[in-house]
Amino acid sequence: MKRIIFLVLFSILMLMVLAACGGQALECTDAIGCVEVAPDEPILIASSLVISGPNAPLGLDSQYGVEIAIDFRGDVLGHKVELQPEDDGCSAEGGQASAQKVVSNPQIVALVGTSCSGAGVPASKIISDAGYVMVSPSNTAPSLTDAELHEAGYLRTAHNDKIQGAAMANYVYNDLGIRKAAAVHDGDPYTEGLASVFSESFQELGGEIVAFEAISADATDVIAPLTTIAAAGPPELIYYPVFIPLGSLITKQAQEVDGLDGVILAAADGVQSPDFLTASGDAAEGMYVSGPDLGFGNEIYDKFLGAYKEKYGTDPTAPFHAHAFDATNMVLDAIEKVAQVGDDGTLLIGRQALRDALFATSGMSGITGTLTCDEYGDCADAKIAVSQVQGGAFVPVWP
């Protein structure tokens, strides 16, 4: 028995010696450290998205976007890319825990996440302090890229609420000629932020917000709040930048409230997905949706959707798969740009260099448009598109 143990230990020792003898031609000169990827090792990327609990459809969808981006890319500089999926739980504590886990692994190059802004706040701090970098596909809270609050390692491909809410208000006021609108949110930071920015911008333009209503996201019946909105004006337009379940409920039930005949419905990218159209059916016809310019004559997106359906068996369940796809490509592009390749294929990726390369992203064409990052990490295409549901599809109407 003892002999076997001895033999095993001895062979391990030999292996160690052999491993230690491998050549080290590259030297790390980066200010905040490097990731070294050995010749036979994959490049490790983490994701931290909400993949459990009631918001799982949102985060899983983004994770699928990341996975497809990795599949499409194939090898990067001769290395496989591997994903370590984590769960942000759509909460501050989930974001914190997953970020701590990511920074405890020195092999992880970058993080794609988080799903929810609430998770992004603590995560961005930890990731940045540890010298890592993260790109979020769906954090939209203005505070994250605020000049004072921004963390050095934080970027995002999702639209800042400030941009999207204001763009929609502009379109509604100037192009549709609406003067009386109502806004609805569901108590989620994303929807509340968008609804607030929309209302403020709309009022600044000279419009009137007749009702600013909140409905809980798990509501099963929205006739009562819609009746309240109808009685308050009635408004010419209702803006409800919520997610698919509540969004489709409002879309369907708005028809059933008689004060709201002929009211124009408008939502944001939280519902911009085929899932919403199937769930809402005819009721969605004619409504306006703001968001990135998705998939209109966009070849990659068609290919993406095909791969998505093939791999996961469903249509996308949320809109942010596209942003996740772009975020992943941004990261992989940056890695290709900054990695030093050794003679034997070893990679050395400087963390500060990677950050710089990401912040320097400019004119990158992705599914969500042309991405250019500013100094506070907002990378989304500043152009917001508005599309209208016509014949069961999103048809771009503006710009």
Partner: protein
């Protein structure tokens, strides 16, 4: 002794203040709304809309609440997983029956047969899931302290949610719209959406049917006997295990029907759909007096109506922004108020207090 009286006076005073405060808020808000014109101006029609919305939501609460009440009456346990029985049947029936039937046009041609098929599948699946849960997670623990089955029930609830999420995906599944139920009926000058009217009528019929089943049939008598005293019921030749299974099955069948009605009204289902209605229905069951069938029904309607009418009536009257967001606050405050006045619920029996 004196010390004790002093305490009780102090508490009594607090409770009276609490009640008074809530009543003042409600009355003040209502008066401000109705007579001082605070907030939006609602027409009579709007109020009827609120009422109808509340009643249709309440009728679904009532049907789910029955399951809680039946099981509670027999086992004195909170069956936390009951909302999941509701979800399981609905999801399965939607995916395997409703959507294919609707896609092939059968549902629009033969709506009655189609709906019956959907209902049967939903009930069968709900009942199977309930019986399996009872057999695996509850029956072995029947003699354990009451908190233990509560924990397995919570466990079962998580398990089924994510089991069905894995099976059918976590996205939203649309429930087909029935062509015959599109539009509204005019009843006495008031417009009733057809789906809502059908849901209300269906649930009232179900409630009456269940009441007759429990009160008039032999099986119903057995259920009541087991609820009264399991040991003596066993002595009387009643198969206690079987009767408990039947109780679970009955509650789950009701939940299956409720799920399909839910689908008809809200036209979308997903894996998490059972959780919030489950909690609400449990609240309704307690509000009405847990263990009592008419209590569950009344509690359900009461809760639905309060949630719909409360925010526009007295919260808006107080000038509170985003009032509909606070409907849960109203629901639970009402619950506390009712329980302070009547600790056994609206029409609960004293029995509940004795055994609870």
């Amino acid at each position: 002794m004196a010390q004790r009286f002093k305490d009780i006076d102090y508490i009594g005073l607090f409770l009276w203040l609490f009640r008074a405060a809530i009543i003042v808020i409600v009355v003040w808000g209502t008066v401000a709304k109705l007579f001082l014109g605070q907030g939006n101006a609602y027409t009579t029609k709007d109020w009827i809309n609120f009422l109808v919305a509340g009643l249709s939501q309440g009728s679904i609460f009532a049907l789910i609440a029955l399951g809680y009440t039946l099981v509670y009456g027999v086992l004195f346990m909170i069956n936390f997983a009951h909302g999941e029985f509701f979800m399981a049947g609905t999801m399965t029936a939607t995916i395997f029956v409703a959507l294919p039937l609707s896609a092939s046009g059968f549902l629009d041609k033969h709506p009655v047969i189609g709906m019956l098929a959907i209902l049967v599948v939903a009930m069968v699946v709900s009942v199977s899931v309930a019986l399996l849960t009872e057999r695996v997670a509850y029956r072995p623990l029947r003699r354990a302290p009451r908190l233990v089955p509560l924990i397995t029930a919570i466990g079962a609830s998580f398990f089924w949610q994510y089991f069905f999420a894995g099976l059918f995906g976590s996205g939203l599944i649309p429930f087909p719209e029935l062509a015959v139920l599109r539009g509204a009926w005019m009843i006495g000058g008031v417009e009733f959406l057809k789906t809502r009217a059908v849901v209300m009528i269906a649930s009232v019929i179900m409630l009456i049917g269940l009441y007759i089943f429990i009160m008039r049939t032999k099986t119903g008598t057995a259920i009541r006997a087991v609820a009264e005293d399991k040991d003596i019921a066993a002595l009387m030749g009643i198969d206690v295990d079987r009767t408990i299974s039947i109780t679970f099955a009955t509650g789950a069948a009701m939940a299956g029907v409720a799920g399909i009605l839910y689908g008809l009204v809200f036209r979308q289902v997903n894996f998490i759909m059972g959780f919030v209605p489950g909690i609400k229905a449990f609240t309704a069951a307690v509000l009405g007096g847990i263990g009592s069938i008419p209590g569950a029904a009344i509690g359900g309607f009461f809760l639905g109506v309060f949630e719909a009418i409360g925010p526009p009536l007295f919260l808006e009257g107080l000038g509170i922004p985003g009032s509909h967001q606070l409907k849960d606050v109203i629901a639970f405050t009402m619950l506390v108020l009712v329980l302070i006045f009547r600790p056994q619920g609206i029409i609960g029996e004293r029995l509940a207090e004795k055994k609870a």
